[in-house]
Amino acid sequence: MARDTGNLKLTNVTKVFGNGDDKVTAVDKFNLTIKPGEFVTLLGPSGCGKTTTLRMIAGFETPTEGDIALDGKSMKNLTPDKRPMGMVFQSYALFPHMSVFENVAYGLRVQRLSKSEIQTRVADVLAKISLSHLAQRAPNQLSGGQQQRVALARAMVVEPKVLLFDEPLSNLDAKLRAQMRVEIREIQQSLGITSVFVTHDQDEAMSLSDRIVVMRNAVVEQTGTPDEIYRKPNSVFVADFIGRSNFFKVDKIKSKSSGKAKIEVNGKRMEVPAHPKATSTSNPVLLVRPESISVKAAKPTKALGTVTNIVFYGNHVEYSIATKHGEITAIESDPVYDEIVQPGKGATFEFDSSRSWLIPSDGTVVHEE
């Protein structure tokens, strides 16, 4: 149930810290329009400016340039308390001297709602996150996951137009994190609140978002749906940051048309989908995801590389293969154990060319994580 309010627009938002020779540009000309009810994730390595962007939306930082508008109204001159936004913090930031109930009720008390209304609304939201039985507990008597839910409830209960999340899951263990991802997504969907989520965890970004904004060194590298970001990255950086990737050197570019190119890789001709800029740069590379590659044993004369290592996971097997392209990773699911190519053996591999993607190379050396 998407609502009609919560349209967030960032125009040329720039943040420069320090002055004189000490200047550091944390965010450079950030542009983004978020539709009502949309879930957008800002993703990038630490120091890329994603948290600063979020804090500017919340009002904890003032943009050096540019404007942030909610439903057409500029937020620029509003202090954080005047903005209809709720925030969930990395450290949860629960008020340690108040009970769970009082924490959640805080924002409603600020709005001077009647006692009975506060009672009902807090009870409702606590039921929603299944913490009703812990209402009178102090925050430090809760587990990390419970604290996290209280923080979410506290931000939600005031029905903000925008929910902001600052790496809220980074203090939880892997299992709990996966569970909270599902919960956050469900709650956000049911309320239809516009949400901006900051993380450096690509799994979180992929599983939660309607759209992902990948940032790097203060600028937006790419904005797109999870599928676009994964399948059609703009750059080697994005491809490498999201998921695992192999980059093949291209021997020849035969022809190019819009969105497609005929190329030769490993002596094989193929037609591949291509980034518009890929064919205009001197040496584009071909992105192939590990799960798109299938491996077969081969005689040394025919082999494209040598298997250097295998890791058997039961449901899938992971190959490392030394090739002229560097080390290639291939993942084969549901493997037959006896057919796995053992380390030291020669191997060939193939992939469906329609599952690959030709991207411009900026010349940076690419490494696996």
């Binding site: 009002g59 003032t62 954080p80 903005r83 008020f95 805080y106 600020v110 931000a155």
Partner: protein, 567 residues
């Protein structure tokens, strides 16, 4: 990534708070000090300043002051270090007792010690005459150093105790596993790590010593220092610009040391916050080292006890050194007439000033830590000035500034606040002095506490729509309540025992205990002085106990800060 906090736009409450803080700091400290500087460049003041260069006598006073500060700083720090080291690194019975005795001098009126030492060791003193049968040179430099070092070593003790406790034992263990002997570890690891703390302690004691007025008056003899010289210039010679000039000269080393000390304590923080100790502290077990350390420590403690018992017992003797029969006459005297008034007035004024000082200190801390990016350092500096400036200088500044109404363009902005004929008998100025002298304690502990609280907690409150004022009242203040009340405790003790600024602005209408004690000690009526001192200590201890009780009551609710911090 390093996120710079505090860059949001300031809300109305914060702007208002900053305005009020600047206004209060201006009236309570900047204008009076400015006045001292101004007056010292009037004719008369210029003469004194010129004499600094030309006159041997004036130069000698400055040398005396600096030498006294250096001696007290060195000896007091050494004593404080010894006691702290014994406390942390030696196992023995009576550790708690030694700790309490090491802190005891904090609650004494500054000249209780001087008076007691005179009675014990002075001209025909109990010990000097009765036991050694000779005239020791207790007046002058030696006596001053003894008394001041005893009065102020707890400051060094507290500083160094905290640092020693937070030293990571793993560092010692690492040195030991590399083959260093215990003494070598002490010399090459422990001591260098403590240097910032030792330096900071030395400087703190230096400032306290050169700023002290009461002890040089009582026990200084011919050893004249700047503080006592300024006092004599004003109250004996009625040479106002001269007094101002001596104060200005005193201001220079005090400010200089304050600035160095700030720089140093910032470095000391690096050592103090090393997280939880990761190993076992290596205790000193070698018998001769252990027992010589313990002997020294208990000797110092015994001296503190001796002096304290002298104060308390002295208040019950009929005529000291003559008639040792027990009597309540001294108390009968002090509770008749002016003494009665003084007890009431002093306690009342201190009780009025205490919450104001505590609240003001916390407000400063909150604005400095949470709200402003630029100027926070400056605000912190001016807030701490009340403690850093010599009380003599402050008192003289108050006398200059508030002894007449303050007028701008013929309109009275402030009525006469100090001196005879002032409104409320000059009580307002005294409360102002108490506030500015004690708010730094609250400010300091408030800053330390707030820095440990995740700023996201304040931000969470703001993002839920709470204004700055609401966040301060409902979130920040409750979270630093412990620091707040501790700040109050020290504020009260400090107010009750402060003398040097008060002496310049007290009036017959508002008799203050400390200045009465000085008068009694000055006229050699030690019995009365001791009775006042005992009473003063009792009041301070009772009020501190009450505040402590409140702290425990309010903290027993089970809600403690969670120590999850943003990564």
């Amino acid at each position: 990534m390093a996120i710079r906090r505090q860059s949001a736009k300031l809300d109305l409450f914060t702007k208002l708070a900053i305005f009020v803080i600047v206004l209060i700091l201006s009236v309570l400290i900047l204008i009076p000090i400015g006045n001292v500087l101004y007056k010292s460049f009037q004719p008369g003041g210029i003469d004194v300043l010129r004499a600094v260069i030309e006159n041997d006598y004036t130069r000698q006073i400055i040398m005396n002051t600096v030498w006294l500060g250096t001696s007290v700083g060195a000896i007091g720090t050494l004593v404080g270090f010894l006691l702290a080291y014994v406390q942390v690194r030696v196992n023995f019975k009576g550790k708690k007792l030694l700790h309490v005795l090491s802190l005891l001098p904090l609650v004494s009126p500054p000249f209780a010690f001087a008076t007691a030492v005179i009675v014990l060791f002075g001209r025909s003193g109990i010990i000097s005459n009765g036991i050694f049968d000779k005239q020791p040179m207790i007046y002058g430099y030696k006596g001053l150093v003894l008394v001041l070092a005893t009065s102020y070593f707890p400051v060094a003790y507290m500083n160094l105790l905290g640092m020693l406790r937070s030293l990571d034992p793993a560092v010692d263990e690492a040195a030991r596993s590399l083959g260093a002997s215990k003494f070598k570890i002490f010399r090459t690891v422990t001591l260098p790590l403590l240097i910032p703390g030792i330096g900071a302690s030395f400087l703190l004691l230096f400032v306290e010593a050169i700023a002290d007025l009461a002890n040089p008056l009582v026990i200084g003899g011919d050893y004249t220092v700047l503080a006592s010289r300024a006092y004599i210039a004003i109250s004996g010679e009625y040479n106002i610009p001269g007094g101002a000039a001596y104060s200005t000269i005193l201001l220079i080393p005090a400010l200089l040391v304050f600035i160095i000390q700030r720089y140093w304590s910032q470095k000391a923080d690096v050592v103090t916050v090393t997280g939880k100790p990761s190993g076992q502290v290596d205790m000193i077990k070698t018998p001769h080292a252990k027992y010589s350390l313990l002997f020294l420590a208990w000797t110092i403690a015994a001296f503190v006890v001796l002096v304290y018992s002298m104060v308390i017992m002295g208040s019950f003797f009929k005529v000291l050194k003559v008639d040792y029969s027990l009597t309540l006459d001294n108390y009968r005297y002090i509770f008749s007439g002016v003494g009665n008034d003084a007890v009431f007035t002093t306690t009342m004024l201190a009780l009025i000033a205490t919450p104001i000082a505590g609240f003001f200190g916390m407000m400063l801390a909150w604005v400095i830590v949470r709200k402003i990016k630029r100027g926070g350092q400056a605000l912190d500096f001016f807030g701490m000035l009340g403690l850093a400036l010599p009380g003599t200088v402050l008192g003289i500044g108050y006398a200059f500034t508030f002894n007449s109404p303050i007028q701008i363009l013929g309109i009275t902005i402030l009525p006469q606040l100090a001196g005879g004929g002032a409104i409320l008998g000059g009580a307002v100025a005294i409360v102002m002095v108490y506030v500015i002298r004690s708010s730094p304690a609250g400010q300091r502990s408030g800053i330390a506490n707030l820095q440990q609280i995740d700023p996201a907690i304040d931000e969470a409150s703001a993002s839920l729509g709470a204004s700055g004022g609401r966040t301060f009242r409902k979130i920040s203040l409750p979270l630093i309540r412990g620091a707040f009340l501790t700040g109050l405790m020290f504020a009260f003790a400090r107010s009750m025992t402060t003398l040097s600024p008060i002496i310049f602005i007290t009036t017959p209408d508002t008799p203050i205990l400390t200045s009465l004690i000085l008068a009694e000690a000055d006229t050699v009526r030690y019995g009365y002085a001791f009775a006042f001192c005992t009473l003063l200590i009792a009041i301070v201890l009772v009020v501190m106990g009450l505040i402590n009780l409140i702290v425990r009551k309010t903290q027993g609710t089970g809600y403690r800060p969670i120590t999850v911090s943003a990564g």
